[in-house]
């Protein structure tokens, strides 16, 4: 193959990745668009329907967000299969599972500070992804701007996004593996921006007589408890370290690492009461991978929006030494 042909092929490949984008290196504009998506997500009121696609599965949900001075409320309703619903307020997250008659309450673990994560870490983020603007596209009858986030290594996934030209809302988000194959996809089929009434974000279920599952979440120092945990993934910095407690005996440590976009959680808990050794193993849930292994009478579970090899790498480096 001569130089010109090789050059042409390389050019073709790069064009394929950027979807034929003529202005592939417009980093400041791409960065501005990411910020715009972030602003829209944090500030707008809207209601819309999206399809979540993962492997053979397609599931439609309605998402509603109501911004108000009293505090923003978001509600997610799964429209296919068994009804399920999640409501998020400034006080945390409530999952309504009517078939199991169960309400799961999460306190958000101080999530107030987290929306600021992305802009604050934009510089760090851009060290690990190449962000490029692509051509205009159309999703849910709305014009949108395509944006690709190509990872610079195999420790993280890539993303192909499309942001509403009018509002900045993300209309489509595809997670791509190292072979550039989608592992999961969120696509809006309908989106209405604007006034949302308070009733639209009210949960439809009365939970009297339901089982309530609730855990308290507070900051922790897992190193003091004997844990040696590191991300071992370039660019993944620790963003939180907590312990979750429910009941007298259930206590789980959690450390979360993030590169600014993807996150990896390390959960550690006692294996007390177990007589059989636990086999280690991996579970794939679309764009999320999970790896479980036993470390010194404890179970370590790593959950990450990363390729399987990355969660395994994190899990394999976890050490435990019982404090003296």
């Amino acid at each position: 193959m001569n130089g010109a042909a090789l050059g042409a092929r390389v050019l073709a490949l790069s064009l394929a990745w950027t979807a034929g984008c003529a202005s592939a290196q417009t980093m400041p504009e791409a960065r501005a668009l990411l910020n715009r998506v972030y602003e829209a997500t944090q500030t707008l009121s809207y209601t819309g329907t999206f399809v979540f696609q993962q492997g053979q599965r397609n599931e439609t949900s309605r998402v509603t967000r109501r911004a108000s001075a009293a505090g923003d409320v978001e509600r997610l309703e799964v429209l296919d299969g068994s009804p399920r619903e999640i409501v998020r307020t400034k006080d945390g997250v409530r999952c309504y599972l009517p078939q199991a008659r169960t309400l799961k309450i999460g306190h958000g673990g101080g999530a107030r500070g987290f929306p600021a994560l992305l802009p604050a870490r934009m510089d760090a983020l851009l060290q690990h992804y190449t962000v490029r603007l692509g051509p205009m596209d159309r999703v849910a009858d709305r014009a949108c701007k395509t944006l690709t986030m190509e990872p610079k290594d195999d420790f993280r996934y890539g993303y192909a996004l499309c942001a509403d030209a009018e509002s900045g809302m993300l209309l489509r988000a595809i997670t791509l593996n190292e072979a550039n194959v989608p592992v999961e996809q969120f696509t809006f089929t309908r989106l209405v921006i604007g006034d949302v009434h308070a009733e639209a974000v009210e949960p439809r279920y009365a939970t009297r007589s339901w089982r309530i599952e609730e855990a308290s979440v507070r900051p922790a120092d897992l190193a003091a408890e004997g844990w040696r945990i590191e991300s071992n993934l370039p660019g993944f910095q620790k963003i939180v370290e907590v312990v979750r407690e429910s009941g007298a005996r259930h206590r789980i440590g959690q450390i979360v690492y993030s590169d600014g976009l993807a996150a990896v959680s390390v959960f550690v808990e006692s294996a007390e009461g177990r007589r059989e050794p636990l086999s280690s193993g991996a579970v794939n849930v679309g764009g999320i991978n999970i790896y479980v292994r036993e470390v010194g009478d404890h179970v370590v579970t790593v959950v990450g929006e990363t390729p399987a090899a990355s969660v395994r790498r994190v899990a394999d480096h976890v050490r435990y030494q019982r404090p003296q």
């Binding site: 979540f52 078939q99 799961k104 963003i239 996150a263 009461g273």
Partner: protein, 205 residues
């Protein structure tokens, strides 16, 4: 004990075989939670399934092997499907169930080797009265399957590992999602993963 034509029967059979539609898990577990009949069905089908796999059913060592099998079962991370055998034992179920009932009655009183009477090896001696799926909002992990205690009158087949993983998976995902920056670009949408019956491709050792 009569199982009869309880509406859950087919679904429980599918669950035992690992062939139940994931979306129906909640319904079946609800039934298992609340109602004695489905629970008996569940136990009976497990015994039948085990019996059909074990051709030397009536040999002297069966009960010991059965107990060992139950004790070992929790470490099987992805129980295999047995589609070929299903039709066979469904067809035989009427005849076999009588034998199975007799077997259960006997097994239930037979102490498992090396343990306190009525307690399976591998089960803690704590006072969990029966297999429970009351999960905390935190992660139940892969542990609950170890909490099978066998009451003198009620042998409980272990819940399938894969199902427990599905439930625990959602708890882990919820705990993870609370801190993921993905929310700052996508709002609530990524939370859909935390309440769904995920397609889990299986535990791999």
């Amino acid at each position: 004990m009569m199982v009869g034509d309880h509406p859950m029967k087919t679904k429980i059979s599918a669950l035992v075989d690992g062939e139940l539609d994931l979306r129906e898990l909640d319904t079946v577990f609800d039934a298992l939670d609340r109602d004695d009949v489905p629970r008996e069905t569940w136990r009976l089908y497990h015994l039948l399934s085990d019996a059909m796999r074990d051709t030397s059913l009536r040999s002297a060592g069966f009960s010991a092997r059965f107990a060992e099998k139950l004790a070992v079962e929790p470490t099987v991370l992805a129980p295999g499907r047995l589609p070929a055998e299903r039709g066979r034992w469904m067809a035989l179920s009427a005849a076999a169930s009588l034998a199975a009932v007799a077997l259960v009655g006997w097994l239930a009183f037979a102490p498992a080797p090396g343990t306190a009477p009525g307690v399976l090896p591998g089960a803690p001696l704590a006072s969990a009265p029966q297999a429970t799926r009351v999960h905390s909002a935190s992660t139940e992990g892969v542990r609950p399957v170890m909490r099978q205690t066998l009451e003198p009158r009620r042998a409980s087949a272990p819940l399938p590992m894969r199902v427990l993983l599905l439930e625990a998976t959602n708890d882990y995902l919820l705990a993870h999602q609370e801190f993921s920056p993905r929310s700052s670009l996508q709002g609530m949408a990524p939370y859909v993963r935390t309440v769904s019956a995920p397609i889990v491709e299986g535990m791999r050792r």
